[in-house]
């Protein structure tokens, strides 16, 4: 950042820093409050101190930010001078259930003030799983198909768990400047893991290009029944794409990641990502049209124009992206199936594994090694994209 020598510019600049930090802090505190039995004010002050350090705030601004931490955190925290009843009073129309507004206060009253850091981390992870589990499974299904989606999601959350466990809370929260940042981080992990899966799958000589669909059809009859012919065709078309094209295309069209996001997440240049998306779109259109025209794909009860409901985008323009996103979301996978997966995998298997220390094997790997692994995968993706 360039500091101007002009007095008023410097002041405005610092004021902007303070406003930015305050905005960030308020969002973080809200996230913290959602995590249940946590000492919100204390942690908010830690976050404020970290923010002030990062942004080189002046002592008076730091003090202002710390007082903001008190202000933001107090109503959620019994130790901060407010309780659930107070929060209820504050919400002025009387129809608010105090316990539902300030769970931290209620839990603290019940004597869980000794909740240590690891418990807080546990809740942070649980909250993340609750918030992102369902969409992440959806993403994984689109990236690698149903067969491997469960494992990919689980591995992504294991990575998150290790991140959360290995760093102090303030440091852990640093990359999570907003929910979108956290979501982007998990998507990045999932994309890297999916890339590994797709590469492994591709390297198996006996694996046909549409193996994912075949396995899906044989192993999960309920899901097969609910997939439309268009969905199957699209899935086949996706399965025929090179891994990196599939990942970039899915992230862009289904989840709205821009070329800048992809550059940051996957270490590929903007022009490269646009090129990949263009190539993938063209390949998808070709594959989809071929599938539609193949006589064996016709079930007889299809409407002649049924494939028109799915718009395979031909370019990277915004209207195309939106249309494709909406159509594909409506058509490709049924959300009840995803919910099924979330229920069975995340709530039972993952929580159980976490509670019973099932991550011990993974904990051996250091965060540094994990990040190095990510970097390596990103490098591979970048190389493949460049080629």
């Amino acid at each position: 950042m360039i500091r101007k020598t002009n007095g008023s510019s410097v002041t405005n600049h610092k004021m902007n820093d303070l406003v930015d930090a305050t905005i960030q802090l308020s969002v973080w505190v809200l996230e913290l409050a959602g995590f249940g039995d946590r000492p919100v004010v204390h942690e908010a002050r830690e976050l404020a101190a970290t923010l002030a350090r990062d942004r080189n705030l002046t002592p008076s601004d730091t003090e202002a930010l710390l007082s903001a931490a008190d202000l933001f955190g107090a109503p959620f925290d019994i130790d901060g001078g407010a309780d659930a009843a107070h929060v209820s009073d504050v919400l002025d129309d009387g129809g608010v259930n105090a316990a539902s507004v300030a769970p931290s206060a209620v839990v603290a009253k019940e004597g869980s003030s000794e909740a240590d850091g690891s418990e807080s981390m546990h809740h942070l992870l649980q909250q993340s799983i609750r918030d992102f589990g369902s969409p992440l499974v959806m993403l994984a299904v689109r990236l690698v198909g149903y067969e491997d989606a469960e494992d990919v999601v689980q591995e992504a959350f294991v990575r998150l768990a290790i991140r959360i466990r290995r760093k102090p809370l303030a440091e852990t929260m640093t990359p999570f400047r907003s929910r979108e940042d956290l979501w982007r981080l998990i998507c990045r992990d999932t994309a890297c893991l999916a890339y590994n899966r797709l590469r492994r799958r591709q390297s198996r000589a006996d694996d046909p290009a549409d193996a994912g669909v075949e396995r899906l059809e044989t192993s999960t009859p309920n899901r097969r029944r609910e997939l439309t012919p268009e969905s199957k065709q699209l899935e086949r078309a996706y399965a025929s794409l090179p891994p990196v094209q599939r990942i970039v295309h899915v992230l862009h069209y289904f989840y709205g990641f821009t070329d800048s996001d992809l550059e940051e997440m996957l270490a590929i240049s903007k022009s490269n990502s646009r090129e990949l998306i263009g190539r993938a779109s063209a390949a998808l259109r070709r594959a989809f049209e071929t599938n539609v025209c193949t006589p064996k794909e016709s079930t007889g009860d299809e409407q002649p124009t049924s494939h028109r409901g799915l718009t395979i985008p031909g370019g990277t323009t915004e209207p195309n992206r939106v249309a494709s996103h909406e159509n594909a979301q409506l058509e490709i996978y049924d959300t009840s199936n995803v919910q099924l997966l979330v229920d069975s995998i995340l709530k039972n298997r993952l929580f159980k594994a976490y509670d019973e220390g099932g991550f011990n094997g993974q904990e051996g790997a250091s965060l540094r090694a994990l990040e190095a692994n990510d970097a390596e995968i990103c490098l591979l993706i970048a190389k493949e994209a460049a080629a």
Binding site: S26, L30, V87, D93, S100
Partner: protein, 242 residues
Amino acid sequence: MIDELNQRYERGDIATRFVPLARRTIAELEGTGAIPDACVDSVGRMIHALAARTSSGVLETQHGGEYLRHMWQRSDGLNRLLGGVLELEVRFALIELATFVCIEHSWIGCPPKGFAPLRPPWRTMIDAVASTGMTGDSRTQRWREIVSDIRDRPVEGARQILTCALTRSGMVDVERGELSDDDFAAAAGKGRRWFNQSHCAGVRLLGQTFRIKDRPSASSPVLGVPSANVSTNPTSRLGGAS
């Protein structure tokens, strides 16, 4: 006194009969002998805006009392959430701004129609507040700048909580009385708990930003060097806090 406010007022009677009555009512609620003129002006402007919604241009029965109740309750809520750091007229200005936008966009009195635009991407409410053409006093202008400023920062979560804060501050149904938490939550497309928490966070963010923006700067020829204790001594700015 509320009964009198709930009467039907012709346009010409608003300034001569309703506003003086509203002044006395607020002073009574506030527990002081007199309240700042800015507060009364704020109420007057909104009552005129409410009356302008009707075809005959009159303030309908019940509307005056209901609006004043809304104004007072929201102001009281803001005051408690912010620990009494903002003056009464400043709080009134925020409520006036948010309510004016709801009136302007017909997000008042007809929740189903009005609530739909408040769903994500969250910008609808904030954009409307930031770009409204209302002509209030300098305080409403300040709030508008702050809302606009937060809108332009690259933190999506901030826009969400700001929307919740503005929604609760501005949304009132003068026809059927107070809106419930569930109504507000429906407006945000989220659960009640999420909405309430976000509302609290949004109000505190607004209040804190207002105070930051209100700090004397080094460039000010009048105020001189920034004071280090502006933010740590909020009671020094206490106005009519209850």
